[in-house]
């Protein structure tokens, strides 16, 4: 499961010295389609990503390509990778932009350059993710780092269910807060889990992280939020853990019953959660604060209404790349973003049939893969015709 640290963090002198292969790209497209198919467009808040992104996808991708061309001549993948707390942001940018590349009629050479750029960052960042979660793992820590964490953390034995339940509530509240701050689609800018790291025959180690909890440029009131960075370290037994390309976590067993040890770290400080009532009570106070803040934040988000939610979507997407754009001498909320905001203003979201899962899965996958494939000139304007040919005319036959 692990690779040597020097292998994981090896520095490349330039980008794209090992571009994505056709085989890797085929796997990526397959995994991407599976990730989409696991979702339910009806439950996406505030709207289905793929019905909104194309409204300004051309503007988005042109700014991103501009930034990449500047950055890749001056910085190594390692330096760029350091800008991101985890790997979910680069990973999801790569897959979301496969649509934008087609919306923006980007030429083949630039599409290739774009994909290889993010591919390099992903490989730099993640120890075992060449196929973007093919193995459904999210491993960012080296073997040595895990050993160190195991040694230095003050572990709390999970003797009864009280701690596990409170930890579950903390995770839930912070995940909910992530949705309120960054909406469903960009919640990964806040929360990301790493693992599973196998530590013994039947035990796994999972690291749950929440960062960027005070995006005051988008939500000024978050300046009053008490915490900046929260991590929960969990050891589970007799359980498999997986994470998909969309940063969705899956546990094969109950996360409370199968918890063995846990450690909670808030802003670098370990919080005692040992099994005595005083500590449990302190933990409950934290849980209550987080849950109430998450609820309040989402009420604010919902109250904003359709037009503001569209604007927020554009801002939230840009905000993830605040430091990245700065590296290229651009501002995350500069004139390029203002142009995007103008573009989406007073526009309804799209209502394309491409995401109607009642069509046979095989046909949808075939269609999606052709649309997303950066090797093909299947521009967005051609999708309707392609859909008719690949999916619609054969509905119900399979």
């Amino acid at each position: 499961m692990f690779v040597e640290q020097q292998e994981m963090f090896k520095r490349r002198n330039k980008m794209n010295d090992n571009p994505i292969t056709d085989e890797e790209l085929d796997k990526l497209l397959e995994i991407y389609c599976e990730g989409i198919y696991d979702m339910d467009p009806k439950t996406a808040l505030p709207f289905w990503d793929y019905d909104f992104g194309p409204l300004f996808g051309d503007l988005w991708i042109k700014r991103m390509i501009k930034a990449i061309k500047i950055i890749k001549t001056q910085f190594s993948p390692k330096e760029v990778a350091k800008l991101f707390n985890g790997i979910a942001v680069p990973r999801k940018e790569l897959i979301y932009s496969l649509v934008d590349l087609k919306v923006g009629d980007i030429n083949k050479e630039d599409r290739k350059e774009f994909v290889n750029f993010w591919w390099d960052i992903i490989r730099e960042k993640c120890a075992n993710d060449d196929y973007l979660c093919e193995n459904k793992t999210n491993l960012i820590h080296s073997k040595e780092e895990i050993k160190e964490l195991m040694k230095k953390l003050n572990w709390n034995e999970h003797k009864d269910k009280k701690i596990g339940k409170e930890m579950g509530k903390i995770s839930m509240s912070l995940n909910s807060l992530s949705y309120g701050l960054y909406s469903d689609i960009f919640a990964h800018n806040c929360f990301e889990n790493f693992g599973p790291y196998k530590i013994s025959g039947n035990e796994i180690f999972v690291v749950k992280t929440w960062t960027n909890l005070q995006p005051v440029e988008i939500w000024p009131e978050t300046k009053d939020f008490k915490f900046k960075d929260i991590k929960i370290y969990c050891i589970y037994k007799d359980m498999d853990y997986t994470v998909d390309i969309y940063n969705h976590q899956w546990y094969s067993a109950n996360t409370v019953d199968n918890l063995v040890k846990v450690a909670l770290v808030i802003d670098g400080k370990e919080i005692l959660v040992a099994n005595d009532e005083d500590n449990i009570e302190k933990l409950r106070e934290i849980t209550k604060y987080l849950a109430e803040f998450a609820v309040e934040q989402f009420h604010k988000y919902k109250k904003e209404g359709f037009e503001k939610n569209k604007a927020l979507w554009v801002m939230q997407r840009s905000y993830q790349f605040k430091e990245f754009f700065r590296l290229a001498g651009l501002e995350w909320n500069g004139p390029e973003m203002q142009e995007m905001l103008t573009r989406v203003k007073d526009k309804p979201v799209l209502n394309n049939p491409y995401w109607d899962f009642s069509y046979p899965k095989e046909r949808l996958f075939r269609f999606w893969k052709k649309c997303f494939d950066p090797r093909l000139d299947t521009y967005f304007s051609k999708w309707e015709e392609l859909f008719e040919k690949e999916v619609k005319t054969k509905k119900g036959v399979d």
Partner: protein, 108 residues
């Protein structure tokens, strides 16, 4: 126990509790510790009441919906894609939810 209906199990485990149907914000106050929260779909405004629930049932959603993700973290069973759950299930009745199979059962 009689199976009322089968949905899609998206968070492992089993639990029993009283049905509390949530159609709007005013219904939030009905939820007590150990209840089964039944709604069309969850969102983060339900964070506090989801923390009280023994199980969650929703009419829409899949493996990656908000209800599923949250339930897995809480370690409680969750069944999604249970069509017309807010109409089919009776407020206050005691049901058994299996988040592994997706079965929702009622005592005969």
């Amino acid at each position: 126990m009689r199976i009322i209906k089968k949905g899609k199990g998206v968070s492992q485990g089993q639990a029993t509790g009283k049905v509390k149907i949530i159609k709007n914000f005013e219904d939030f106050s009905k939820v007590q510790e150990g209840d089964v929260l039944v709604t069309k779909m969850t969102d983060p405004t339900m964070t506090v009441i989801m923390g009280k629930a023994n199980a969650i049932i929703t009419e829409t959603g899949g493996m990656a919906c908000h209800a599923a993700i949250v339930a897995r973290e809480l370690g409680i069973p969750c069944v999604v894609a249970f069509e017309s759950a807010t109409e089919t299930l009776k407020e206050g009745s005691t049901i058994h939810v299996c988040g592994t199979t997706g079965n929702v059962q009622k005592e005969e």
